[in-house]
Amino acid sequence: MKDKKSYDVILFKAVSYALKAEKILKKENLPHKLIPVPKHISSDCGICLMVHLDMKDQVLTALQDKVDIENVRPLTE
C-alpha cells in the first residue's frame, strides 16, 4: 500500500456484518480488503473493510440497505 492517506476504513457492528459486506463487494468486483481495526480507532468489532477513497462512493452505494454500517473513518490518524 503506497499511500495510506488514500484509504478509509468501514466499521461494522459485528464481524458477521463485515463478512457480509465483504461478500457483496466481492460479487460486485469492488476492490476492498478485510483488515484488523487500526489501533487508533476504537471499535468493538475486530475487523473492518479498507477501501480506496476513489472507490468509497461506489462501495457505500453497493452496501446501502444491505449491511448496517457503524462508521467510516480514515485509515490513518
Binding site: K13, A14, V15, S16, Y17, L19, K20, K23, L34, P36, V37, D44, C45, G46, I47, D68
Partner: protein, 385 residues
C-alpha cells in the same frame, strides 16, 4: 451381519465424509473463537459460521444470512420462539402432533397465562387447516405447527396454514426438525415467519447444531432467552438488539457448525428433491412389504408422497420395546420404540401409552437393507402368531 441404522429421525447416521473432514479441518487448522478477535484464525472461524448461514438461507429461500440464529438444536430454537414471543393474555394455536420440544414450552407458557388451543389431528396425524381458521380469536398471536410428525411422518399442509396466518396477521412458526434437508422448504412461499430446525437429522450435521430463522423485523418482538458475551458492543452491559447477536450469547459450537456446513453443502449438491424421492422409494418398498403381514399395523398416511421417511408400526400382542429389542439383538436393526417424545401425537393416532416401533430412513439407507428389515418383521410377526 452389519448394523442397519433406522433411527435417522432421532439423529442421522452415518454422516457424509465431508462432515468429518470439515470438523477435523477446523480443529486442526483453525481452532479459534469466531468473531471475538481480529486475527486471521478468528476471522476464519467467523467465516465458517457466516458461510453456514449463507447455505442455510439458500436451502430455505431466505434473503439475509443474518436472519438465521444458530442454536444448539431445534429445541432451543423453539424455546426462543415460544418463550420469547408469547406474553400472558396471548392466544396461540398448535397441533396435537407436536413434539415435546414445542409442546412443553407451549404448556409452560400456558401456566404463565397464555391461552393455548391444540387442534386435534386425524388418525393419520394430519391437521385440517379449516380447524385452524376456526380456532382464531381476537387475541390470537401465533400458530406453531410441526412441518412433519416425528411419529407418523405425516407432512402438514404448512403452505395452507401459512396463508391463513398471513391473512390474519399471525406469526407463523414451523418446526422443521423432521423436514429440513429432506423436504422442500420455502419460507416465502409458505409464509413462514419463524423456522426452527435442527442440524443433526436430515441436514447431516453433528449433534449440538441447529437454528432459528426469524423474519426480518420480527426480532423486535422476541426477547432473547440467554444473554451474555457476543463479541460485539463489548463496551455496553446491555445485550445487542441486532440480528443474530441478540440471540447468540456465548461462544458458539464452531466445530459443530463446520460439520453442519458440510452437511448442508451435501444436501444442496445432491438436491432436496433427489433426497426426497430416493427416501420415498425406501418408504414405499417398506410399507408395501409389511402392510400385508398378519398382525402388523401401520400408522400414518398411505400416500408416501405426503410423508417423510418415518414409519411407525406395531405387531399385535407385542410390546414395541420388545420388538425393537429383538430387531437389535437378532437382526442388528436399530429402531426406536415407545412414545418418541410426543405423547399427544400417540393419543391422536391411538397408540398411547404403549407407543410404536419407529423406523426412520435416510439417504444412506439402501433397498437391500429395507428388504432385510421386511424379512425380520415377517419372522418376528410370524413367530408371534
Amino acid at each position: 451381519m452389519s448394523i442397519i441404522y433406522f433411527d435417522n429421525a432421532a439423529t442421522s447416521w452415518p454422516k457424509p465424509p465431508e462432515v468429518h473432514a470439515a470438523m477435523q479441518k477446523y480443529l486442526k487448522k483453525i481452532g479459534a473463537n469466531p468473531g471475538r478477535s481480529g486475527h486471521r484464525l478468528s476471522v476464519e472461524a467467523a467465516r465458517i459460521i457466516f458461510d453456514t448461514r449463507e447455505k442455510l438461507v439458500q436451502l430455505f429461500n431466505v434473503d439475509d444470512p443474518l436472519q438465521i440464529v444458530m442454536t444448539k438444536n431445534a429445541t432451543e430454537a423453539l424455546n426462543i420462539a415460544i418463550l420469547g414471543l408469547l406474553k400472558p393474555g396471548d392466544h396461540v394455536i398448535t397441533s396435537s402432533m407436536e413434539h415435546n420440544s414445542a409442546m412443553r414450552p407451549l404448556r409452560a407458557m400456558e401456566h404463565r397465562g397464555v391461552n393455548l388451543t391444540v387442534i386435534t389431528c386425524d388418525q393419520d396425524g394430519l391437521i385440517d387447516p379449516v380447524k385452524v381458521s376456526a380456532a382464531i380469536q381476537e387475541n390470537t398471536k401465533a400458530i406453531f405447527v410441526t412441518h412433519a410428525s416425528n411419529v407418523t411422518g405425516t407432512v402438514m399442509p404448512v403452505a395452507d396454514i401459512g396463508r391463513i396466518a398471513r391473512k390474519h396477521a399471525l406469526v407463523f412458526c414451523v418446526d422443521a426438525a423432521q423436514t429440513a434437508g429432506c423436504c422442500p422448504i420455502d419460507v416465502k412461499e409458505m409464509n413462514i415467519d419463524l423456522l426452527a430446525f435442527t442440524g443433526h437429522k436430515s441436514l447431516f450435521g453433528p449433534s449440538g447444531t441447529g437454528g432459528l430463522y426469524i423474519r426480518e423485523g420480527l426480532e423486535k418482538r422476541i426477547e432473547p432467552l440467554c444473554v451474555g458475551g457476543t463479541g460485539s458492543r463489548s463496551e455496553s452491559e446491555e445485550q445487542p438488539d441486532f440480528m443474530p447477536d441478540r440471540y447468540e450469547a456465548g461462544t458458539p459450537n464452531t466445530v459443530g457448525i463446520a460439520g453442519l456446513q458440510a452437511g448442508v453443502d451435501f444436501v444442496l449438491s445432491e438436491g432436496v428433491d433427489q433426497i426426497n424421492s430416493r427416501e420415498e422409494e425406501l418408504v414405499k418398498t417398506f410399507m408395501e412389504g409389511i402392510k400385508g403381514l398378519a398382525g402388523v399395523t401401520l400408522y400414518g398416511q398411505t400416500d408416501t408422497h405426503k410423508r417423510t421417511p418415518v414409519v411407525s408400526f406395531n405387531i399385535a400382542g407385542m410390546d414395541p420395546a420388545a420388538v425393537a429389542l429383538e430387531l437389535d439383538e437378532r437382526f442388528k436393526i436399530m429402531a426406536r420404540s415407545g412414545i418418541h417424545c410426543a405423547p399427544s401425537a400417540h393419543k391422536t393416532i391411538g397408540t398411547y401409552p404403549q407407543g410404536t416401533v419407529r423406523f426412520s430412513f435416510s439417504y444412506f439407507n439402501t433397498q437391500e437393507q429395507i428388504a432385510k428389515a421386511i424379512d425380520a418383521i415377517r419372522k418376528i410377526s410370524r413367530r408371534k402368531k
